[in-house]
Symmetry: C2
Subunit: 130 residues, 2 copies
């Protein structure tokens, strides 16, 4: 049925330690164990972890994820609080999007400038920092 932490780790691209850490922090409250106490991962667990990881790598702190999980365990009455957290998080995603756009623009500009310089097409006074 379910898979081991090693297999889950490989499917998710996360270290086994990181998954144990997430469980210890209360991010995976429904994880099953086998007769020896080993964690068993089903498809829904992999999806949960993948979602947690997606939010994590885009800047949502572990503590906030924990808060969301706890609210979810309390039932539908906490939906307004969860929605509030998500709306704030979304604002942050927008900010990150803007920063990413700016970084892209600068990198592309510099890379084309480097190309021209390597071909000797650009005068020195047209150069810029970094």
């Amino acid at each position: 049925m379910g898979i081991s932490i090693k297999e889950a780790s490989e499917k998710l691209g996360l270290a086994p330690h990181t998954i144990r850490y997430y469980e210890k922090e209360g991010l995976l409250p429904a994880l099953q164990r086998d007769e020896y106490g080993n964690r068993i991962f089903e498809e829904k667990d992999l999806e949960s972890i993948s979602l947690l990881n997606c939010f994590r790598v885009t800047g949502l702190p572990v503590a906030t994820l924990k808060q969301m999980v706890d609210l979810t365990l309390q039932g539908d009455s906490t939906i307004p609080q969860r929605a509030a957290i998500l709306r704030e998080y979304k604002q942050d995603l927008v900010r990150q999007q803007q920063e990413l756009d700016r970084a892209f623009a600068i990198v592309n500009m510099k890379l084309s400038k480097y190309d021209l310089l390597e071909q000797g097409q650009l005068a020195p006074q047209d150069r810029m920092g970094l």
Copy 2:
């Protein structure tokens, strides 16, 4: 002519300490001082710091920024190395862009689902984690 660290800090939205930290790490090698040793910031310094900050908040480590600054100080012969760093960084920006897109999609889906649930329009079995 130039402005103080306090003013620069306000213009950039960075703590004065952070700017001093960047200078100490070698990220600002050309910063001028006044007769009392106080840092003086000109427009080009603000631009440099703003660029450094843009790259930083989009995941480029301080150590890599330092590497770029050092290479730049060595002249045009290091352009190939700088271009290589920027290309790798750009790859990472693409990865971040994808993660951001996924996070946006999930957040939007959840927010609309919350809206429907609050209106009692959605059956319980249609609900999802978090």
